[in-house]
Amino acid sequence: MINIVWAIVFVLVAPVIGGLVVGIDRKITAHMQGRVGPPILQPFYDVGKLFEKEQTVVNETQIFYAICYIIFMIFTGALFFAGGDLLLVIFALTLAQVFLVMGAFAANSPYSYVGAERELLQIMAYEPMVILAAVGMFVATKSFNVSEIASTTIPVVLLLPGIFLGFLYVLTIKLRKSPFDISTSHHAHQEIVKGVTTEFSGPSLGLIEISHWYETVFLLGFVYLFFGFNPLIGVAAVIIIYLLEILIDNTNARVKWQLVVKSSWLIAAVVSVVNLAALYYLSGGVP
């Protein structure tokens, strides 16, 4: 069931793909704003630069949390691409996220502190929808194993249209895109400086950037699961959805955290109740 080869492929290839995705993202964003934009390889230059810089810290424990964050983020993605249990993947993801939050708390600095609290609010906002997406896939395919969901012939997305839309909604939070970019303020400096990453510098910040690449690839893989019945449509859907996210990013102003939590919960509750109720009803009450 678990396929080690895919896990190794993920560990080696994901940062390349993730970095390129971010590079293309920045290029398209620039074009949308009528600019030329940085080279596609810019994210790699940035991370390369970060590793050339001196490591300064507020205290040594920060580095420990940054390392744990990347290790468990890689673990999450590797488990996912190896075809492991989807719920376990989600729990591992939470563990990784908590390490990032702890890194921000550890610095005992006001800006990273606010970032940490907001990051937790974000986790609280998207977590139900992500778990329910996994549950929806189980109801649709009778399995929690990524390997089985990915190779199913059932058109998952047609059975889970509501859950798919709900997942897209929280995907914006996970990709740290506007309007839900409340904890790190990726674009331009704002009232919380850089939120969770404020106190990280040099190599440790580089590790966090690489973790984001891994995370991006993992999330795109999750989107693919909805279209696993046809690889061609799957890849096309992943690309279209990412472009859609870029469009949303560039056309929306950032909102307050209250709205992030309330709207994601409301949407998660409505779509999952409606969608799952329909599925249960169609199969006679029991999945």
Binding site: V58, L95, F105, V135, V193
Partner: protein, 644 residues
Amino acid sequence: MEGGYLVQTTQLLIFLILFPLIAAFFLLLAKKDFERAWIVKLSALAIGIASVYLLISTYNKGALLMSAIPAEPTGIVMFILGMLIAVFILYLGIVYKKWLVVALILVQSAVMLYFELVFAHSVHVQSNMFMDEFSIIMALIIGIIGSLICVYSLGYMKFFHEHHPEMPDRRPWFFAILFLFLAAMFGLVFSNNLIWVYFFWEVTTLCSFLLIGYTKTEEATNNAFSALWMNLLGGVAFAGAIIYLAMFGNGIMGMTDLLASGKIIALIPAALIGFAGLTKAAQLPFSSWLVGAMVAPTPVSALLHSSTMVKAGVFILVRLAPIFQSTVTGYMIAMIGVLTFLIASGIAISQSNAKRVLAYSTIANLGLIVACAGIGTYEAIWAAILLIVFHAVSKSLLFLSVGTVEHRIKSREVDDMNGLIVRMPKIAAMMVIGIAGMFLAPFGMLISKWAAIRAFIEIPYGFLFVIILAFGSAMTIYFWAKWMGKIISVTSDSKNIEGEVDHSEWAALVSLAGLSFITTLVFPLLSTKLLEPYLMANYGHVAQLSQDNIIIMILMLLLLIILPLSILIPQRKHKHVAPYMGGRTTTHDMRFSGSLGVQKKTVLSNYYLHEYFGEKKLRTAGIWICSAIIGIMFVATALRGVFL
């Protein structure tokens, strides 16, 4: 050979019930500190060893029914003791003018008196005691975690009375009740005769009442009485179940007979006992007694929350689960449980007092266990028992470390624990392990939550439960993580104030921290050797995790153990700079000069989101909704009882 084994096991069970009583008696007499210390330590050791021995000696032998004890005299003794307890409570109720308590105890005693006079001779239970894998698991929790808490109390209570000279020092009484509590719990899990169960049930109610009111302050007394009336309400329901069985149950009075008798007879008494279980497990609308119980010294809270009292409530529900399975009654109980999980997790977000956070988290997790019991499928029960085990370990560890910290920093506020990792590194590490055990993969609580999700999906329209669970579990992450963040944030100026932690406190803490790793590591063993036989015997199905997932989980655990060791690797010292304060120069303790040169200190506080998760708002809503569901449960049960 077989007979010898039976006798031997019976003796072991009786030892477990009676030995703590003897210890309690001597503790009442012991006036000197060192005498008490020795009695507590040796008895704790004996109880711990006996419960482990029980596990070993009954290994792979399955369930046992025991009829060796003469029922008649024991029954009379229990009846007399029960009446004495009632008189005692009645007296206290009148003295303190708690008329609700008086009314409830009168009703309850009247019912039991009526039963004793009219039905007692017609009821005959073949086997008064029994034991299976689930009882062994409970016995291990009581015997190991319960006695560790008793050992911890030695150091804690000494410190407590040294620093609170205004409180009367009633330690002999305190320790005696702790051990009495353990005895009652052992009695509860090994009794088959429902009248015995009822008796031990009432003893636990009494013990918790006395322990909560230990300090005799006005708040403590009031909260003790509020705990008392809620549990007495459950007691009345329990007594009602006994009377119902006596009147309509063809003389059934044994737990095993009740389970075997089918839903038609069993459903109504099961619903009544289930109601008693809900009160004892502090489910909404009865959650407030457990929160109020926080006024007691911390080891009492640890005992009530982890190994005794509330666990008695869920124990009885899990026992009765086969009766609840796929009935409206069961679904309503499950709904109460899962709503309690949601609402209590929400309230925990708004709490700044560490003990109240723990209290609401206990209520939430008990809610999850109750939900599993109400659903009653084999997968749900598997999850429920795992939750009981892992919750007991992590929660006792957390309470005890909060207790130790509270004595050092003189506060229970989460915000005052800022930088604990610098000020009290060892205890902070214990606390972090406890918190991680409560909500992070790969620790046991999360495995159990995972199992619960799978169990809920499989039942008809179970998605409703899953959705509520998903939201509740997201809130759990929030309140645990923000607390953990407080502890591990490094305040570089703070001094280490850990000092000499009392060695008995320390021993208990280290053992529990070790246990939380060990239970997670040996959980596959726990599952195959204890849970699977139990499920096989009671449900004919076995729930388990796949091999791959177990390996992955162990891998994660090993990573979590190894990664912190990386701190030991010598590395180049990095350049230290102060946190960014918008360009403002700060000193290392985060002081900066504000306008007009006034020195200010940076204070960081958690978010509590009162506006959304305020205690009052959520609790009121929860009480109304859950009371309504209890109403529906009884109506549905009654209808089914009448029409079938």
